[in-house]
């Protein structure tokens, strides 16, 4: 077995294959399909201070090689998460990364502080980019000054590995990535979903109850790959690549352009065992070539 370990902040991942927030439930849902111990880690559904019901109406619609979702960040809230969900997954020998979000700096800080009290949480992933929340869309995620100050404020209350998850719905992702770095993030993860819409032409309404939603899946991979490459060139902290990853080839592409780890998202819906396949595939790929993970990462010729 090749050494697949990756260091991000104060966390050592046993391998660079993570599962993306909102696409892996709270974890146990996948037990029948894969060995959770095999994963580098998993990102929980986005947690907020209080429970949230999410959006009414249709929440998911298929698009060419992808999907739109407007789940609306439905989640059980931080209290229930810590008291009921976390104990159920605490025993998994894999990194638990808690994805979290709020609507004000104050709440972001409060939430980060609360989550930091749990020893079993390995890292926090701060979601700045959810396009589904009605109050103005991607507000935090588009303003570099806000990102920097918010990151700095959260940084003050947590010693855990702090990952800032970036929105692709910006003119220049390197600007927002640098802002997160300047604020003290240990890593950036990208991309979150692109904002899109679909219409039900029979009823002449938007298909999603929320009208707009987040586009994910293989369709967005070229955009994600470009943004990860651009970002990895300008920040010193690790970049975690996300967007349309479904095959070993996709994983390798993201590592080649400089991602230190990757997250598998919508592909979990198609094949709930895919993340473990990717870990095993990456191991074989490196072993066959006698190559180290470090040598692979960022090795695309420019």
């Amino acid at each position: 077995m090749t050494d697949l370990r990756v260091h991000i902040g104060v966390t050592t991942l046993k391998n660079p294959i993570l599962t993306a927030s909102g696409t892996f439930g709270y974890g146990p849902e996948f037990e029948p399909y894969l060995n959770l111990h095999a994963l580098g880690g998993f990102c929980t559904k986005g947690i907020s201070l209080e429970p949230r019901a999410g959006n009414p109406g249709v929440r998911i619609v298929e698009t060419p090689s992808g999907m739109l979702n407007s789940i609306g960040l439905e989640n059980c809230g931080s209290r229930v998460f810590l008291d009921e969900m976390l104990p159920k997954i605490a025993a998994y020998d894999t990194a638990i990364i808690v994805n979290f979000y709020a609507h004000s700096e104050e709440d972001f800080v409060k939430l980060a502080a609360t989550l930091s009290e749990s020893d079993r949480i390995d890292a926090l992933e701060m979601n700045l980019s959810c396009p589904n929340v009605k109050q103005g869309g991607s507000v935090f995620g588009a303003d570099p000054r806000l990102i920097e100050s918010l990151t700095a404020a959260v940084r003050k209350v947590t010693k855990k590995t702090l990952i800032v998850k970036l929105s692709p719905n910006v003119t220049d992702i390197t600007v927002t990535a640098r802002a997160a770095e300047a604020g003290g993030a240990d890593a950036v993860s990208l991309i979150n979903t692109l904002i899109g819409a679909a219409v039900d032409r029979r009823t002449r309404r938007f298909t999603l109850g929320n009208k707009i939603g987040g586009l994910s899946g293989p369709a967005i991979k070229p955009v994600a790959l470009r943004m990860v490459w651009q970002t990895a060139r300008v920040v010193k902290i690790p970049v975690i690549g996300i967007g349309g990853i479904a095959t070993l080839g996709d994983v390798i592409d993201f590592l080649l352009v400089g991602a230190r780890a990757v997250q598998v998202g919508s592909a979990n819906f198609v094949n709930p065992g895919v993340a473990q396949d990717l870990v095993e595939g990456l191991d074989r790929y490196l072993a066959e070539r006698g190559e180290t993970l470090d040598a692979l990462i960022g090795s695309v010729q420019e």
């Binding site: 909102g22 439930g25 399909y33 789940i71 979990n268």
Partner: protein, 251 residues
């Protein structure tokens, strides 16, 4: 135990009313009322998401699905030939109760799909169907159902069986003294709600297999949540089989 496997289609058979039967080798043995997520297994990314499909039949490791072509996904699935690769994830969801002495299975349109296996596997002493179709032309597998249990057919235009709705037929049966211990339905939501009305009126126990757009089928995406009058439910995980009270406004 659930699994997600890529396997080759064993057989494809066209059926009336824009439907087809697809047979695929699949273990383990599912429970009646469960479903699978079905997608292409050849690596194409469009269509992207798997489709929820009920267990029409399962026998000796061979799963049979009855699928109605309604959109792009089912159209392209229907064009696959035997030998083509599909991905099957399942069996998923809860199942129909099987502790009643007399069960009436009520299906409308493609909603008949899960009832064949349910009736076939039921341990109930007395099993019967009420199956509703738009018309004789758009009905299917009437012979197959009749072999499993006695069927009362109803149709919108009277071209098959009686011209009435399934819930009206149930009402008539109960009035005539044929009172089931359990009513199991699957079909359009309106039909199921109407059946629940009749069941409630007569104090019958009733369960219903709900539909919802699904992303994953395993409780991971939260995409299938629907706000029913009685509760907000995650159809794939808490169902797809729900008690009839789901159709009643919560107090």
């Amino acid at each position: 135990m659930q699994r997600s496997i890529v396997t080759a289609i064993a057989d494809m058979m066209p059926v009336a009313g824009d439907c087809f039967l697809m047979a695929v080798p699949f273990e383990p043995e599912p429970l009646p009322g469960q479903f699978v997520m079905l997608s292409f297994g050849d690596g194409r990314t469009d269509p992207f998401l798997p489709r929820p499909i009920s267990i029409f039949d399962w026998e000796g490791g061979m799963l049979t699905l009855l699928i109605r072509v309604v959109g792009r996904g089912t159209l392209l699935l229907g064009r696959q030939a035997a030998g083509a690769a599909v991905r099957v994830t399942g069996p998923l969801g809860n199942s129909f109760p099987d502790d009643a002495g007399r069960v009436c299975f009520i299906g409308g349109g493609i909603g008949v799909a899960p009832l064949f296996y349910a009736a076939k596997r039921s341990k109930a002493k007395d099993r019967s169907f009420i199956l509703g179709f738009r018309s004789a032309d758009e009905s299917y597998l009437t012979g197959e159902f009749s072999e499993v249990a006695p069927v009362r057919f109803v149709s919108d235009d009277g071209s098959l069986g009686e011209k009435m709705f399934p819930h009206e037929k149930l009402d008539a049966l109960v009035a005539a003294g044929e009172r089931p211990d359990l009513v199991v339905t699957c079909g359009p939501e309106k039909m199921m709600a109407a059946v629940h009305g009749v069941a409630k009126k007569h104090g019958l126990r009733d369960v219903h297999s709900l539909e919802s757009r699904m992303g994953c089928g395993i409780g991971a995406c939260l995409g299938c949540r629907v706000n029913m009058p009685g509760a907000s439910v995650l159809v794939c995980k808490e169902g797809a089989v729900f008690d009839g009270s789901i159709f009643e406004e919560k107090q």
